[in-house]
Protein backbone atom coordinates (compact mmCIF):
# COMPACT_ATOMS: atom_id res chain seq x y z
CA UNK A 1 0.00 0.00 0.00
CA UNK A 2 1.37 3.43 -0.82
CA UNK A 3 2.13 5.96 1.89
CA UNK A 4 2.94 9.65 1.75
CA UNK A 5 5.08 11.67 4.16
CA UNK A 6 4.77 15.43 4.40
CA UNK A 7 7.33 17.39 6.42
CA UNK A 8 6.28 20.59 8.16
CA UNK A 9 8.43 23.17 9.86
CA UNK A 10 5.90 24.11 12.51
CA UNK A 11 3.31 22.30 14.55
CA UNK A 12 0.62 24.82 13.54
CA UNK A 13 1.11 24.15 9.82
CA UNK A 14 1.10 20.41 10.48
CA UNK A 15 -2.15 20.69 12.47
CA UNK A 16 -3.72 22.70 9.63
CA UNK A 17 -2.54 20.04 7.15
CA UNK A 18 -4.16 17.34 9.30
CA UNK A 19 -7.44 19.28 9.13
CA UNK A 20 -7.14 19.46 5.34
CA UNK A 21 -6.48 15.72 5.18
CA UNK A 22 -9.65 15.07 7.13
CA UNK A 23 -11.55 17.43 4.85
CA UNK A 24 -10.20 15.42 1.88
CA UNK A 25 -11.75 12.25 3.24
CA UNK A 26 -8.96 10.78 5.37
CA UNK A 27 -9.93 9.60 8.83
CA UNK A 28 -7.97 10.28 12.05
CA UNK A 29 -6.58 6.73 11.94
CA UNK A 30 -5.38 7.05 8.33
CA UNK A 31 -2.45 9.28 9.18
CA UNK A 32 0.35 9.18 11.71
CA UNK A 33 2.08 12.23 13.21
CA UNK A 34 5.81 11.92 13.78
CA UNK A 35 7.54 14.39 16.10
CA UNK A 36 10.87 14.68 17.89
CA UNK A 37 9.20 15.45 21.21
CA UNK A 38 5.82 14.69 22.76
CA UNK A 39 2.99 17.10 21.96
CA UNK A 40 -0.23 17.20 23.93
CA UNK A 41 -2.50 14.36 22.94
CA UNK A 42 -4.78 15.32 20.07
CA UNK A 43 -2.73 18.37 19.05
CA UNK A 44 -2.92 17.23 15.43
CA UNK A 45 -6.39 15.68 15.57
CA UNK A 46 -4.85 12.23 15.20
CA UNK A 47 -6.22 9.07 16.81
CA UNK A 48 -3.46 7.24 18.64
CA UNK A 49 -5.80 4.45 19.72
CA UNK A 50 -6.39 2.80 23.07
CA UNK A 51 -3.78 0.78 24.91
CA UNK A 52 -3.67 -1.82 27.63
CA UNK A 53 -0.38 -0.78 29.19
CA UNK A 54 -1.81 -0.76 32.70
CA UNK A 55 -2.62 -4.46 32.56
CA UNK A 56 1.02 -5.41 32.09
CA UNK A 57 2.38 -4.37 35.51
CA UNK A 58 -0.58 -6.06 37.13
CA UNK A 59 0.17 -9.35 35.36
CA UNK A 60 3.87 -8.95 36.10
CA UNK A 61 3.17 -8.32 39.76
CA UNK A 62 1.11 -11.51 40.04
CA UNK A 63 3.80 -13.58 38.34
CA UNK A 64 6.50 -11.98 40.49
CA UNK A 65 4.52 -12.67 43.65
CA UNK A 66 4.05 -16.31 42.66
CA UNK A 67 7.77 -16.72 41.95
CA UNK A 68 8.61 -15.04 45.27
CA UNK A 69 6.27 -17.41 47.09
CA UNK A 70 7.79 -20.42 45.36
CA UNK A 71 11.34 -19.34 46.15
CA UNK A 72 10.62 -18.67 49.81
CA UNK A 73 8.15 -21.40 50.72
CA UNK A 74 9.52 -23.96 48.27
CA UNK A 75 13.13 -23.76 49.38
CA UNK A 76 12.25 -23.81 53.08
CA UNK A 77 9.83 -26.72 52.80
CA UNK A 78 12.23 -28.75 50.69
CA UNK A 79 14.79 -28.74 53.51
CA UNK A 80 12.89 -27.91 56.70
CA UNK A 81 15.71 -26.95 59.02
CA UNK A 82 14.52 -25.21 62.18
CA UNK A 83 16.79 -22.26 62.99
CA UNK A 84 16.72 -20.63 66.43
CA UNK A 85 13.25 -22.04 67.08
CA UNK A 86 11.73 -19.92 64.34
CA UNK A 87 8.91 -21.28 62.15
CA UNK A 88 9.89 -22.88 58.85
CA UNK A 89 7.50 -20.59 57.00
CA UNK A 90 7.83 -17.23 58.72
CA UNK A 91 5.57 -14.65 57.10
CA UNK A 92 7.67 -11.48 57.77
CA UNK A 93 10.90 -12.71 56.12
CA UNK A 94 8.98 -14.40 53.31
CA UNK A 95 7.00 -11.25 52.71
CA UNK A 96 10.15 -9.28 51.92
CA UNK A 97 11.27 -11.61 49.14
CA UNK A 98 7.71 -11.88 47.81
CA UNK A 99 7.38 -8.09 47.88
CA UNK A 100 10.61 -7.62 45.92
CA UNK A 101 9.52 -10.34 43.48
CA UNK A 102 6.16 -8.61 43.00
CA UNK A 103 7.76 -5.26 42.29
CA UNK A 104 10.38 -6.76 40.00
CA UNK A 105 7.70 -8.55 37.99
CA UNK A 106 5.67 -5.35 37.71
CA UNK A 107 8.70 -3.32 36.58
CA UNK A 108 9.83 -5.82 33.96
CA UNK A 109 6.33 -6.29 32.57
CA UNK A 110 5.79 -2.53 32.36
CA UNK A 111 8.73 -2.26 30.00
CA UNK A 112 7.56 -5.29 28.07
CA UNK A 113 4.15 -3.62 27.89
CA UNK A 114 5.42 -0.33 26.52
CA UNK A 115 7.53 -2.13 23.94
CA UNK A 116 4.63 -4.33 22.88
CA UNK A 117 2.03 -1.57 22.85
CA UNK A 118 4.36 0.80 20.99
CA UNK A 119 4.76 -1.87 18.30
CA UNK A 120 8.48 -2.08 18.95
CA UNK A 121 10.85 -3.28 17.73
CA UNK A 122 9.75 -1.79 14.45
CA UNK A 123 11.53 -3.68 11.70
CA UNK A 124 9.50 -2.24 8.82
CA UNK A 125 10.96 0.27 6.42
CA UNK A 126 8.20 2.84 6.88
CA UNK A 127 8.52 6.36 5.54
CA UNK A 128 10.63 8.49 7.84
CA UNK A 129 12.93 11.51 7.71
CA UNK A 130 15.74 12.31 10.10
CA UNK A 131 14.69 15.99 10.12
CA UNK A 132 11.83 14.94 12.40
CA UNK A 133 14.31 14.84 15.29
CA UNK A 134 15.44 18.35 14.30
CA UNK A 135 12.04 19.83 15.04
CA UNK A 136 10.09 19.07 11.87
CA UNK A 137 6.66 17.49 12.14
CA UNK A 138 5.98 14.58 9.80
CA UNK A 139 2.54 13.52 8.62
CA UNK A 140 2.49 10.00 7.22
CA UNK A 141 -0.68 9.15 5.31
CA UNK A 142 -1.47 5.51 4.58
CA UNK A 143 -3.41 5.23 1.34
CA UNK A 144 -5.53 2.52 -0.28
CA UNK A 145 -4.22 3.06 -3.80
CA UNK A 146 -2.13 5.35 -5.99
CA UNK A 147 -5.02 7.71 -6.64
CA UNK A 148 -5.50 8.28 -2.92
CA UNK A 149 -1.74 8.79 -2.57
CA UNK A 150 -1.91 11.51 -5.22
CA UNK A 151 -4.74 13.18 -3.30
CA UNK A 152 -2.69 13.04 -0.09
CA UNK A 153 0.37 14.44 -1.84
CA UNK A 154 -1.61 17.35 -3.27
CA UNK A 155 -3.27 18.08 0.09
CA UNK A 156 0.01 18.04 2.00
CA UNK A 157 1.77 20.23 -0.60
CA UNK A 158 -1.05 22.75 -0.60
CA UNK A 159 -1.03 22.78 3.20
CA UNK A 160 2.56 24.02 3.18
CA UNK A 161 4.65 20.87 3.47
CA UNK A 162 8.32 21.65 2.93
CA UNK A 163 8.83 18.29 1.30
CA UNK A 164 6.57 15.40 0.38
CA UNK A 165 7.80 11.84 -0.15
CA UNK A 166 5.98 8.78 -1.40
CA UNK A 167 6.64 5.08 -0.96
CA UNK A 168 5.03 1.82 -2.09
CA UNK A 169 3.33 2.94 -5.30
CA UNK A 170 2.30 0.11 -7.59
Amino acid sequence: MPSVLGLFQSADTAAAAADRLQASGFGPTDYEVLTGAPYPEGAFGEDSGDHRLFIFPLGGAMIGFAVGLMVTAGTQLSYPLVTAGKPILGIPPMFIIMYEGTMLGALIFTIMGVIFESRLPNLTNDLYDSRITEGYVGLVVRCEDDAQADTAQTTLTEAGAEEVKQQGRS
Binding site: A11, E32, V33, L34, T35, G36, A37, P38, Y39, E41, F44, E46, S48, G49, H51, L53, F54, P57, V71, T72, T75, Q76, S78, Y79, L81, T83, K86, G90, P93, M94, I96, I97, Y99, E100, G101, M103, L104, A106, L107, I108, T110, I111, G113, V114, I115, E117, S118, R119, L120, P121, N122, L123, T124, D126, Y128, S130, I132, T133, E134, G135
Partner: protein
Protein backbone atom coordinates in the same frame (compact mmCIF):
# COMPACT_ATOMS: atom_id res chain seq x y z
CA UNK B 1 11.74 26.68 34.04
CA UNK B 2 11.57 30.40 34.14
CA UNK B 3 15.18 31.07 33.24
CA UNK B 4 15.22 28.65 30.32
CA UNK B 5 16.48 30.47 27.22
CA UNK B 6 14.52 30.04 24.00
CA UNK B 7 16.42 27.43 21.96
CA UNK B 8 15.59 25.75 18.66
CA UNK B 9 15.46 21.94 18.40
CA UNK B 10 18.61 22.02 16.25
CA UNK B 11 20.47 24.00 18.92
CA UNK B 12 19.28 21.57 21.59
CA UNK B 13 20.43 18.60 19.49
CA UNK B 14 23.81 20.17 18.90
CA UNK B 15 24.39 21.13 22.54
CA UNK B 16 23.18 17.91 24.11
CA UNK B 17 24.82 15.57 21.62
CA UNK B 18 28.14 17.37 21.98
CA UNK B 19 29.36 14.97 24.64
CA UNK B 20 28.62 12.06 22.29
CA UNK B 21 29.93 13.51 19.05
CA UNK B 22 32.94 15.49 20.27
CA UNK B 23 35.79 14.33 22.46
CA UNK B 24 37.69 17.16 24.17
CA UNK B 25 41.21 16.69 25.51
CA UNK B 26 39.98 16.87 29.09
CA UNK B 27 37.94 13.73 28.45
CA UNK B 28 41.10 11.74 27.75
CA UNK B 29 42.88 13.24 30.75
CA UNK B 30 40.01 12.29 33.03
CA UNK B 31 39.73 8.88 31.43
CA UNK B 32 43.41 8.11 32.05
CA UNK B 33 43.31 9.41 35.60
CA UNK B 34 40.21 7.42 36.51
CA UNK B 35 41.42 4.29 34.78
CA UNK B 36 44.65 4.59 36.76
CA UNK B 37 42.75 4.76 40.04
CA UNK B 38 40.48 1.89 39.03
CA UNK B 39 43.59 -0.07 38.07
CA UNK B 40 45.01 0.50 41.55
CA UNK B 41 41.77 -0.81 43.00
CA UNK B 42 41.98 -3.92 40.83
CA UNK B 43 45.53 -4.53 42.09
CA UNK B 44 44.37 -4.08 45.70
CA UNK B 45 41.45 -6.46 45.18
CA UNK B 46 43.72 -9.02 43.52
CA UNK B 47 46.11 -8.82 46.46
CA UNK B 48 43.25 -9.34 48.86
CA UNK B 49 41.86 -12.32 46.99
CA UNK B 50 45.34 -13.85 46.69
CA UNK B 51 46.42 -13.42 50.28
CA UNK B 52 43.03 -13.42 51.99
CA UNK B 53 41.27 -10.96 54.26
CA UNK B 54 44.38 -10.80 56.42
CA UNK B 55 45.58 -7.89 54.28
CA UNK B 56 42.65 -5.83 55.55
CA UNK B 57 42.24 -4.37 59.03
CA UNK B 58 39.31 -6.69 59.77
CA UNK B 59 39.76 -8.73 62.88
CA UNK B 60 37.70 -10.15 65.70
CA UNK B 61 35.23 -8.68 66.71
CA UNK B 62 35.21 -6.01 63.95
CA UNK B 63 34.40 -8.05 60.88
CA UNK B 64 32.54 -5.27 59.07
CA UNK B 65 34.88 -2.47 58.07
CA UNK B 66 35.41 -0.11 55.15
CA UNK B 67 33.82 -2.51 52.66
CA UNK B 68 30.44 -2.55 54.39
CA UNK B 69 30.65 1.17 55.15
CA UNK B 70 31.24 1.72 51.45
CA UNK B 71 28.42 -0.63 50.55
CA UNK B 72 25.93 1.30 52.67
CA UNK B 73 27.33 4.61 51.40
CA UNK B 74 26.93 3.71 47.71
CA UNK B 75 23.48 2.22 48.22
CA UNK B 76 22.66 5.58 49.79
CA UNK B 77 24.02 7.51 46.82
CA UNK B 78 21.90 5.35 44.54
CA UNK B 79 18.77 6.81 46.11
CA UNK B 80 19.36 10.09 44.29
CA UNK B 81 18.05 8.78 41.00
CA UNK B 82 14.67 7.79 42.30
CA UNK B 83 14.31 10.78 44.54
CA UNK B 84 15.05 13.24 41.77
CA UNK B 85 13.54 11.38 38.89
CA UNK B 86 10.49 9.52 40.14
CA UNK B 87 9.20 11.99 42.69
CA UNK B 88 9.75 15.01 40.48
CA UNK B 89 8.25 13.21 37.50
CA UNK B 90 5.14 12.25 39.44
CA UNK B 91 4.75 15.77 40.76
CA UNK B 92 5.36 17.19 37.23
CA UNK B 93 8.14 19.44 38.56
CA UNK B 94 9.43 21.28 35.51
CA UNK B 95 12.96 21.71 36.84
CA UNK B 96 13.58 17.97 36.79
CA UNK B 97 14.28 17.82 33.04
CA UNK B 98 18.06 18.42 32.86
CA UNK B 99 18.93 16.39 35.93
CA UNK B 100 16.86 13.22 35.76
CA UNK B 101 19.05 11.11 33.52
CA UNK B 102 22.31 11.87 35.30
CA UNK B 103 20.62 11.03 38.60
CA UNK B 104 19.13 7.80 37.24
CA UNK B 105 22.44 6.71 35.74
CA UNK B 106 24.24 7.50 38.98
CA UNK B 107 21.75 5.20 40.68
CA UNK B 108 22.72 2.34 38.39
CA UNK B 109 26.48 2.81 38.70
CA UNK B 110 26.50 3.41 42.42
CA UNK B 111 24.34 0.33 42.99
CA UNK B 112 26.73 -1.76 40.90
CA UNK B 113 29.63 -0.43 42.95
CA UNK B 114 27.77 -1.08 46.20
CA UNK B 115 27.08 -4.67 45.16
CA UNK B 116 30.74 -5.08 44.26
CA UNK B 117 31.73 -4.25 47.81
CA UNK B 118 29.56 -6.98 49.26
CA UNK B 119 31.31 -9.40 46.96
CA UNK B 120 34.74 -8.04 47.94
CA UNK B 121 33.80 -8.18 51.60
CA UNK B 122 33.32 -11.93 51.45
CA UNK B 123 37.03 -12.34 50.72
CA UNK B 124 36.30 -15.21 48.35
CA UNK B 125 34.15 -13.43 45.75
CA UNK B 126 33.30 -16.56 43.77
CA UNK B 127 31.60 -18.03 46.81
CA UNK B 128 29.18 -15.11 47.14
CA UNK B 129 26.79 -16.73 44.73
CA UNK B 130 26.42 -19.66 47.08
CA UNK B 131 24.83 -17.46 49.70
CA UNK B 132 22.54 -15.54 47.41
CA UNK B 133 21.27 -18.27 45.15
CA UNK B 134 20.05 -21.84 45.66
CA UNK B 135 22.95 -24.22 45.63
CA UNK B 136 23.71 -27.87 46.04
CA UNK B 137 20.81 -29.35 44.13
CA UNK B 138 21.90 -32.87 45.09
CA UNK B 139 21.34 -32.46 48.82
CA UNK B 140 18.57 -29.89 48.43
CA UNK B 141 20.06 -27.35 50.78
CA UNK B 142 18.96 -23.79 50.08
CA UNK B 143 19.92 -20.37 51.36
CA UNK B 144 17.92 -19.31 54.37
CA UNK B 145 15.47 -16.70 53.12
CA UNK B 146 14.80 -15.80 56.73
CA UNK B 147 18.18 -14.09 56.82
CA UNK B 148 18.47 -10.37 56.00
CA UNK B 149 21.61 -11.28 54.06
CA UNK B 150 19.32 -12.91 51.49
CA UNK B 151 16.85 -10.02 51.53
CA UNK B 152 19.63 -7.65 50.50
CA UNK B 153 20.48 -9.23 47.13
CA UNK B 154 16.78 -9.52 46.26
CA UNK B 155 16.16 -5.83 47.05
CA UNK B 156 19.28 -4.63 45.28
CA UNK B 157 18.60 -6.80 42.25
CA UNK B 158 15.05 -5.44 41.99
CA UNK B 159 16.20 -1.85 42.39
CA UNK B 160 19.06 -2.26 39.94
CA UNK B 161 16.88 -3.93 37.32
CA UNK B 162 14.16 -1.32 37.79
CA UNK B 163 16.66 1.52 37.54
CA UNK B 164 18.24 0.14 34.36
CA UNK B 165 14.79 -0.25 32.80
CA UNK B 166 13.89 3.25 33.95
CA UNK B 167 16.99 4.68 32.27
CA UNK B 168 16.48 2.67 29.11
CA UNK B 169 12.80 3.54 28.64
CA UNK B 170 13.55 7.26 28.77
CA UNK B 171 16.60 6.81 26.56
CA UNK B 172 14.80 5.26 23.57
CA UNK B 173 13.76 8.55 21.85
CA UNK B 174 17.25 9.97 22.35
CA UNK B 175 18.76 6.82 20.86
CA UNK B 176 16.56 7.42 17.81
CA UNK B 177 17.82 10.98 17.68
CA UNK B 178 21.42 9.77 17.91
CA UNK B 179 20.64 7.33 15.09
CA UNK B 180 19.40 10.23 12.96
CA UNK B 181 22.40 12.42 13.75
CA UNK B 182 25.21 9.90 13.28
CA UNK B 183 26.59 7.85 10.43
CA UNK B 184 28.31 4.51 9.91
CA UNK B 185 28.53 1.89 12.64
CA UNK B 186 27.29 4.28 15.29
CA UNK B 187 24.10 4.83 13.33
CA UNK B 188 23.63 1.07 13.10
CA UNK B 189 24.20 0.56 16.85
CA UNK B 190 21.84 3.38 17.86
CA UNK B 191 19.35 2.06 15.30
CA UNK B 192 19.29 -1.32 17.00
CA UNK B 193 19.17 0.16 20.52
CA UNK B 194 16.25 2.48 19.74
CA UNK B 195 14.22 -0.50 18.45
CA UNK B 196 13.06 1.41 15.38
CA UNK B 197 11.46 4.28 17.34
CA UNK B 198 9.60 6.71 15.04
CA UNK B 199 8.11 9.19 17.46
CA UNK B 200 4.45 8.81 16.59
CA UNK B 201 1.70 10.03 18.89
CA UNK B 202 0.97 6.57 20.26
CA UNK B 203 4.60 5.97 21.16
CA UNK B 204 4.86 9.31 22.95
CA UNK B 205 1.63 8.69 24.83
CA UNK B 206 2.85 5.29 25.97
CA UNK B 207 6.28 6.62 26.91
CA UNK B 208 4.76 9.28 29.13
CA UNK B 209 2.44 6.73 30.74
CA UNK B 210 5.42 4.42 31.27
CA UNK B 211 7.40 7.20 32.95
CA UNK B 212 4.60 7.69 35.45
CA UNK B 213 4.04 3.96 35.96
CA UNK B 214 7.71 3.19 36.50
CA UNK B 215 8.02 6.16 38.85
CA UNK B 216 5.10 4.91 40.91
CA UNK B 217 6.47 1.37 40.94
CA UNK B 218 10.06 2.19 41.71
CA UNK B 219 9.28 4.48 44.65
CA UNK B 220 8.21 1.63 46.97
CA UNK B 221 11.30 -0.29 45.85
CA UNK B 222 13.44 2.75 46.63
CA UNK B 223 12.06 2.86 50.16
CA UNK B 224 12.44 -0.90 50.59
CA UNK B 225 16.08 -1.05 49.49
CA UNK B 226 17.60 1.11 52.17
CA UNK B 227 15.10 -0.18 54.70
CA UNK B 228 16.36 -3.69 54.02
CA UNK B 229 19.97 -2.49 54.20
CA UNK B 230 19.12 -1.01 57.59
CA UNK B 231 17.65 -4.36 58.65
CA UNK B 232 21.03 -5.97 58.02
CA UNK B 233 21.80 -4.11 61.20
CA UNK B 234 18.40 -3.80 62.85
CA UNK B 235 17.49 -7.49 62.72
CA UNK B 236 20.58 -8.42 64.69
CA UNK B 237 20.51 -8.29 68.46
CA UNK B 238 23.66 -6.18 68.54
CA UNK B 239 23.31 -3.21 70.90
CA UNK B 240 23.35 -0.01 68.88
CA UNK B 241 21.92 -1.70 65.79
CA UNK B 242 18.74 -3.31 67.11
CA UNK B 243 16.89 -0.03 66.77
CA UNK B 244 13.36 0.36 65.44
CA UNK B 245 14.04 3.73 63.81
CA UNK B 246 16.83 2.49 61.55
CA UNK B 247 14.72 1.99 58.40
CA UNK B 248 13.34 5.53 57.96
CA UNK B 249 16.59 6.95 59.32
CA UNK B 250 18.63 5.09 56.70
CA UNK B 251 16.25 6.07 53.90
CA UNK B 252 16.42 9.77 54.77
CA UNK B 253 20.21 9.59 55.12
CA UNK B 254 20.41 7.94 51.71
CA UNK B 255 18.33 10.67 50.14
CA UNK B 256 20.53 13.32 51.75
CA UNK B 257 23.79 11.87 50.46
CA UNK B 258 22.31 10.96 47.07
CA UNK B 259 20.77 14.33 46.32
CA UNK B 260 23.95 16.06 47.47
CA UNK B 261 25.91 13.86 45.07
CA UNK B 262 23.60 14.91 42.25
CA UNK B 263 24.62 18.53 42.87
CA UNK B 264 28.28 17.66 42.36
CA UNK B 265 27.46 15.64 39.26
CA UNK B 266 25.37 18.45 37.77
CA UNK B 267 28.18 20.95 38.29
CA UNK B 268 30.71 18.64 36.62
CA UNK B 269 28.39 18.01 33.66
CA UNK B 270 27.66 21.70 33.26
CA UNK B 271 31.32 22.59 33.20
CA UNK B 272 32.66 19.61 31.22
CA UNK B 273 30.03 19.62 28.47
CA UNK B 274 29.28 23.38 28.45
CA UNK B 275 25.65 22.91 29.43
CA UNK B 276 25.15 26.37 30.91
CA UNK B 277 21.86 26.91 29.07
CA UNK B 278 20.43 23.69 30.47
CA UNK B 279 21.81 23.27 33.98
CA UNK B 280 21.26 26.68 35.47
CA UNK B 281 21.63 28.25 38.92
CA UNK B 282 17.87 27.84 39.43
CA UNK B 283 18.34 24.05 39.42
CA UNK B 284 20.88 24.28 42.23
CA UNK B 285 18.51 26.64 44.00
CA UNK B 286 15.68 24.09 43.84
CA UNK B 287 17.83 21.18 44.99
CA UNK B 288 19.21 23.34 47.80
CA UNK B 289 15.67 23.95 49.08
CA UNK B 290 14.96 20.24 48.94
CA UNK B 291 18.15 19.47 50.83
CA UNK B 292 17.24 21.76 53.71
CA UNK B 293 14.19 19.61 54.42
CA UNK B 294 16.07 16.34 53.97
CA UNK B 295 19.04 17.38 56.14
CA UNK B 296 16.74 18.50 58.94
CA UNK B 297 14.74 15.28 58.72
CA UNK B 298 17.99 13.33 58.94
CA UNK B 299 19.04 15.38 61.99
CA UNK B 300 15.68 14.62 63.62
CA UNK B 301 16.08 10.86 63.14
CA UNK B 302 19.67 10.96 64.35
CA UNK B 303 18.60 12.91 67.43
CA UNK B 304 15.89 10.32 68.16
CA UNK B 305 18.43 7.50 67.80
CA UNK B 306 20.83 9.15 70.23
CA UNK B 307 18.15 10.12 72.74
CA UNK B 308 16.58 6.65 72.78
CA UNK B 309 19.96 5.02 73.34
CA UNK B 310 20.87 7.39 76.15
CA UNK B 311 17.51 7.48 77.93
CA UNK B 312 15.94 4.08 77.33
CA UNK B 313 17.55 2.53 80.39
CA UNK B 314 19.11 -0.23 78.31
CA UNK B 315 22.63 -0.54 79.65
CA UNK B 316 24.22 -2.05 76.53
CA UNK B 317 22.60 0.50 74.22
CA UNK B 318 23.70 3.28 76.54
CA UNK B 319 27.30 2.08 76.61
CA UNK B 320 27.56 1.81 72.85
CA UNK B 321 26.16 5.31 72.38
CA UNK B 322 28.46 6.57 75.11
CA UNK B 323 31.38 5.09 73.21
CA UNK B 324 30.28 6.88 70.04
CA UNK B 325 30.06 10.13 71.96
CA UNK B 326 33.45 9.75 73.67
CA UNK B 327 36.91 10.50 72.24
CA UNK B 328 38.17 9.58 69.71
CA UNK B 329 34.76 8.92 68.13
CA UNK B 330 33.40 12.13 69.58
CA UNK B 331 35.58 14.10 67.15
CA UNK B 332 34.24 12.12 64.22
CA UNK B 333 30.70 12.58 65.56
CA UNK B 334 31.17 16.34 65.79
CA UNK B 335 32.68 16.45 62.32
CA UNK B 336 29.78 14.38 60.97
CA UNK B 337 27.04 16.51 62.49
CA UNK B 338 28.82 19.67 61.33
CA UNK B 339 29.18 18.33 57.79
CA UNK B 340 25.60 17.12 57.57
CA UNK B 341 23.67 19.87 59.30
CA UNK B 342 25.43 22.72 61.06
CA UNK B 343 27.54 23.82 58.10
CA UNK B 344 25.41 23.21 55.00
CA UNK B 345 21.88 23.95 56.26
CA UNK B 346 22.53 27.60 57.23
CA UNK B 347 24.27 28.07 53.86
CA UNK B 348 21.34 26.55 51.97
CA UNK B 349 18.98 28.93 53.74
CA UNK B 350 20.22 31.80 51.59
CA UNK B 351 19.12 32.07 47.97
CA UNK B 352 22.39 33.80 47.05
CA UNK B 353 24.38 30.76 48.19
CA UNK B 354 21.99 28.23 46.69
CA UNK B 355 22.49 29.89 43.31
CA UNK B 356 26.28 29.91 43.70
CA UNK B 357 27.34 26.69 42.03
CA UNK B 358 30.80 26.60 43.61
CA UNK B 359 29.38 26.88 47.11
CA UNK B 360 26.72 24.26 46.37
CA UNK B 361 29.35 21.81 45.14
CA UNK B 362 31.44 22.27 48.26
CA UNK B 363 28.45 21.79 50.54
CA UNK B 364 27.54 18.65 48.57
CA UNK B 365 31.03 17.23 49.07
CA UNK B 366 30.96 18.14 52.76
CA UNK B 367 27.60 16.38 53.19
CA UNK B 368 28.93 13.24 51.59
CA UNK B 369 31.98 13.25 53.84
CA UNK B 370 29.56 13.54 56.75
CA UNK B 371 27.37 10.72 55.48
CA UNK B 372 30.35 8.43 54.99
CA UNK B 373 31.40 9.16 58.57
CA UNK B 374 27.86 8.46 59.75
CA UNK B 375 28.08 4.92 58.37
CA UNK B 376 31.53 4.53 59.93
CA UNK B 377 30.15 5.55 63.32
CA UNK B 378 27.23 3.16 63.05
CA UNK B 379 29.40 0.17 62.20
CA UNK B 380 32.82 0.37 63.82
CA UNK B 381 32.25 1.47 67.46
CA UNK B 382 29.26 -0.88 67.71
CA UNK B 383 31.24 -3.93 66.63
CA UNK B 384 34.13 -3.04 68.92
CA UNK B 385 31.82 -3.59 71.90
CA UNK B 386 29.53 -6.14 70.32
CA UNK B 387 29.48 -8.64 73.17
CA UNK B 388 29.22 -6.86 76.51
CA UNK B 389 30.23 -9.82 78.66
CA UNK B 390 32.47 -11.82 76.35
CA UNK B 391 35.75 -10.02 76.90
CA UNK B 392 36.13 -9.94 73.13
CA UNK B 393 36.54 -6.24 72.59
CA UNK B 394 38.84 -5.00 69.87
CA UNK B 395 39.87 -2.12 67.67
CA UNK B 396 39.85 -1.50 63.97
CA UNK B 397 42.10 0.46 61.69
CA UNK B 398 41.73 0.23 57.94
CA UNK B 399 44.62 -1.11 55.90
CA UNK B 400 46.06 0.42 52.74
CA UNK B 401 44.17 -2.17 50.70
CA UNK B 402 40.86 -1.02 52.12
CA UNK B 403 41.69 2.66 51.68
CA UNK B 404 42.71 1.98 48.07
CA UNK B 405 39.44 0.19 47.44
CA UNK B 406 37.45 3.11 48.87
CA UNK B 407 39.26 5.45 46.45
CA UNK B 408 38.62 2.90 43.72
CA UNK B 409 34.88 3.03 44.37
CA UNK B 410 34.72 6.77 43.74
CA UNK B 411 36.90 6.46 40.64
CA UNK B 412 34.82 3.55 39.39
CA UNK B 413 31.51 5.44 39.58
CA UNK B 414 33.11 8.51 37.96
CA UNK B 415 34.65 6.40 35.20
CA UNK B 416 31.37 4.66 34.41
CA UNK B 417 29.58 8.02 34.31
CA UNK B 418 32.25 9.44 32.00
CA UNK B 419 31.97 6.48 29.64
CA UNK B 420 28.18 6.71 29.69
CA UNK B 421 28.38 10.39 28.73
CA UNK B 422 30.51 9.45 25.74
CA UNK B 423 27.94 6.98 24.43
CA UNK B 424 24.59 8.46 25.45
CA UNK B 425 23.23 12.00 25.94
CA UNK B 426 23.46 12.93 29.61
CA UNK B 427 20.43 15.20 29.48
CA UNK B 428 17.18 13.78 28.08
CA UNK B 429 16.94 15.70 24.82
CA UNK B 430 13.30 14.92 24.15
CA UNK B 431 12.31 16.01 27.62
CA UNK B 432 14.17 19.28 27.16
CA UNK B 433 12.33 19.85 23.87
CA UNK B 434 9.04 18.97 25.52
CA UNK B 435 9.72 21.70 28.07
CA UNK B 436 10.11 24.19 25.23
CA UNK B 437 6.85 23.07 23.66
CA UNK B 438 4.98 23.71 26.89
CA UNK B 439 6.67 27.02 27.62
CA UNK B 440 4.70 30.18 26.87
CA UNK B 441 5.07 33.84 27.75
CA UNK B 442 2.31 36.20 28.74
CA UNK B 443 2.11 39.86 29.56
CA UNK B 444 0.97 41.51 32.75
CA UNK B 445 1.25 45.26 32.30
CA UNK B 446 4.80 45.92 31.22
CA UNK B 447 6.04 42.52 32.30
CA UNK B 448 6.58 39.51 30.06
CA UNK B 449 6.27 36.49 32.29
CA UNK B 450 7.28 32.95 31.35
CA UNK B 451 4.89 30.16 32.25
CA UNK B 452 4.53 26.44 31.80
CA UNK B 453 1.21 25.44 30.31
CA UNK B 454 -0.18 22.17 31.57
CA UNK B 455 -3.20 20.08 30.65
Amino acid sequence: MHERPRLTPIQINRDLLRSVLETPLVFYVLLLLLMGLVGLGVIAATLMVSYGLGVTGLNHPVFWGFFIINFVFWVGISHAGTMISAILRLSAAEWRRPVVRAAEVMTVFSLLTAALFVVLHTGRPWRTLYWAFPYDFVRGIWPDVRSPLVWDPSAIFTYLTGSILFVYAALIPDLALARDQTTGWRRAVYGVLCLGWRGNARQWKLLNATGLLLSALILPVFVSVHSIVSWDFGMSLVPGWHVHIFAPYFVVGAVLSGVAAVIALMAVMRSLFRLHDYIRPEHFDMIGRLLIVVALAWAYFYFIDVIFALLSNEEAEYQVMKLRLSPPYLYLFLLMITCNVFLPVPIWMFRKFRRNIGIMVWTAIVVNIGMWLERFLIIIPTLQRRHPDAFAWGDYSASLVEITLVIFSFANVALLLLLFSKIFPVIPIWEEKEGHIWKREFRIGKLRLPAIVRE
